[in-house]
């Protein structure tokens, strides 16, 4: 079978995702909105259900058995995830509600200690790439305002690429932060982030990597990256919604002033003052989403079980098929066609608005995302406005990509 030629046991895999077996408007669902949220396999759902039905209790303070089991499950999930991303002894993982919260913990944590103590000081420099999701831009705008640092954008060229030499030109001795994505959600662009992180680190900056679109795919282990902070979400890697993590070098995490103050993150408290706990508790105030952490770890094991290189080979083939088919339609322009490591295609159509395309695709059971994809400055910079984006996961099929291409061609005919 074609599917096994491409290294993935597709029928078995699809059976792990019961949600896929449904019809939308009388057509089989073709779920191509995976860059927004992937679906969860049974293994993830069952791991969470097992926790909820057998081990659920609050963690860390209890002396009773369930509390101990819940604590063990939570810490085991932390260990699994650290292994999954290739973290070392020098790293710690903080559970968050997702990439957005993780990036906010970093950006806020670098100014919240106040003008005398914070990592960011007036006149210093924050560099953020122009490819970013709003979650890796807006917190830095606020950090600049609150600290008096200046925010400088590493601007992409007309094709939406960012260049190492352009970063080099922006780096100054006053540069304290570089924040960049490992894969742009709006275009699929894959910046040379390994080199950029290394350059920024060498210049004395803390380096922040938004790995939301990349963590479920092949990446260098974290120990091989000059990365002080990496953020990712569970729901883009077959895990639960409302889960994610900030992983950082311990010495870098120490620079973050905790912004979730309260229970669990303190060593001692008097009416007047408190002493904050060690990492990771220091940055994990309040009761965490323990079932979510368990599900996220199960998702990591699911991905590792299938194999990231096999998944990526398959997804790159689906993307290449979509790129070829869509590019052949008169009036369609695919963004970042050169981004062969992407697992999505983002495109614009002459005289046809993405929302209209999206509605006609839904009519045929095909789920895509339309709009600015939370990356309005990038699309404005490219002079494009909103796009239609189809993004792939390991359960998608070549037949679904063919349906996408045919439906887009039909929509163009209807509206032009």
């Amino acid at each position: 079978m074609l599917d096994t030629v491409r290294d993935l046991p597709l029928a078995d895999l699809r059976a792990q995702f019961p949600l896929l077996a449904q019809s939308i408007h009388g057509h089989p669902l073709a779920y191509l909105d995976n860059a927004a949220t992937t679906q969860t396999p049974l293994a993830v759902q069952q791991a969470m259900q097992r926790f909820e039905q057998h081990d659920r209790a609050n963690i860390h303070r209890g002396v009773h058995s369930l509390s101990q089991r819940a604590t063990d499950a939570f810490e085991a999930a932390r260990a699994t995830l650290k292994g999954f991303i290739g973290a070392g002894q020098e790293h710690e993982l903080i559970f968050t509600s997702g990439t957005t919260e993780a990036l906010n913990l970093v950006a806020q944590g670098l100014w919240a200690a106040g003008p005398a103590k914070a990592w960011l000081r007036p006149g210093e420099r924050i560099i953020v790439s122009g490819l970013e999701h709003h979650a890796n831009l807006v917190p830095w705008q606020q950090a600049a305002r609150m600290s008096g640092a200046e925010l400088v954008i590493l601007r992409p060229d007309a094709q939406g690429r960012v260049h190492v030499q352009d970063l080099q030109a922006l780096l100054t001795p006053a540069t304290r932060v570089l924040a960049i994505t490992a894969g742009a959600n709006a275009t699929g662009e894959r910046p040379p982030y390994e080199q950029m992180l290394a350059l920024a680190r060498a210049a004395g900056a803390l380096t922040v990597l938004d790995a939301a679109q990349a963590v479920g795919h092949e990446m260098l282990p974290l120990t091989a990256l000059d990365c002080d902070f990496m953020a990712f979400s569970g729901h883009k890697m077959y895990g639960p919604m409302g889960t994610g993590a900030l992983v950082g070098k311990r010495e870098a995490l120490q620079f973050l002033y905790p912004v979730r103050l309260g229970g669990d993150m303190v060593d001692w408290v008097s009416y007047e003052a408190a002493g904050y706990a060690q990492l990771p508790a220091r940055l994990e105030g309040g009761t965490p989403n323990v079932a979510g952490a368990v599900g996220l770890a199960a998702a990591a094991q699911f991905i590792a079980g299938v194999g990231r290189s096999a998944i990526d080979r398959y997804l790159h083939a689906l993307r290449a098929q979509a790129l070829a088919g869509l590019s052949a339609i008169d009036g369609i322009t695919v963004l970042a066609p050169h981004a062969t490591q992407a697992t999505l295609v983002s495109f614009v159509a002459r005289d046809v608005h993405p929302h209209d395309i999206g509605t006609l695709l839904d009519e045929r059971g095909i789920a895509v995302r339309t709009g600015h994809h939370c990356a309005q400055p990038l699309l404005d910079h490219l002079g494009l406005g909103p796009t239609t984006r189809a993004s792939f996961a390991l359960y998608n099929t070549a037949e679904e990509v063919d349906r996408l291409i045919a439906a887009v061609a039909h929509a163009i005919k209807v509206f032009q």
Partner: protein
Amino acid sequence: MNNAENDLYQEVVLEHKRAPRNFGTLEHATHQAQGTNPSCGDRVAVQLRLDGERVADIRFTGQGCAICMASTSMMTEAVKGRELAAAQALQQHFRAVLTGEEEPEDAPLGKLVSLAGVRQYPSRIKCALLGWHALMHAIADNDGQTVSTEEGRP
């Protein structure tokens, strides 16, 4: 089951999308307002020349989806030359039909009834209302203000 090509994108809607009426800028405008729905990227600017209580002339510019463009185009046709009170009443009926508070056959919508199918597509109602929202703000003389029909926005 919905059928977008029959219900939502009727031929008259597509025809207005391809060749919008009263499109362009208006010289000597007395009132204007902009509407924008940032997450969609829909953006329309409506300009009016009021003669007392009458819409003497109207134009619009901008870009958006077929629903947004057709609705705004048909709106300009419907209100041009009419009294302000009539324009406001029409807006209320149109809005009520889209939000399900009034049935299309009970509302004096004229050609605008071809957009009644939008009520079956909740995520698209804001597209159909954007131009109207801008019109109401222009009439209210909120000069230069940018308005939106997306939730949680001004």
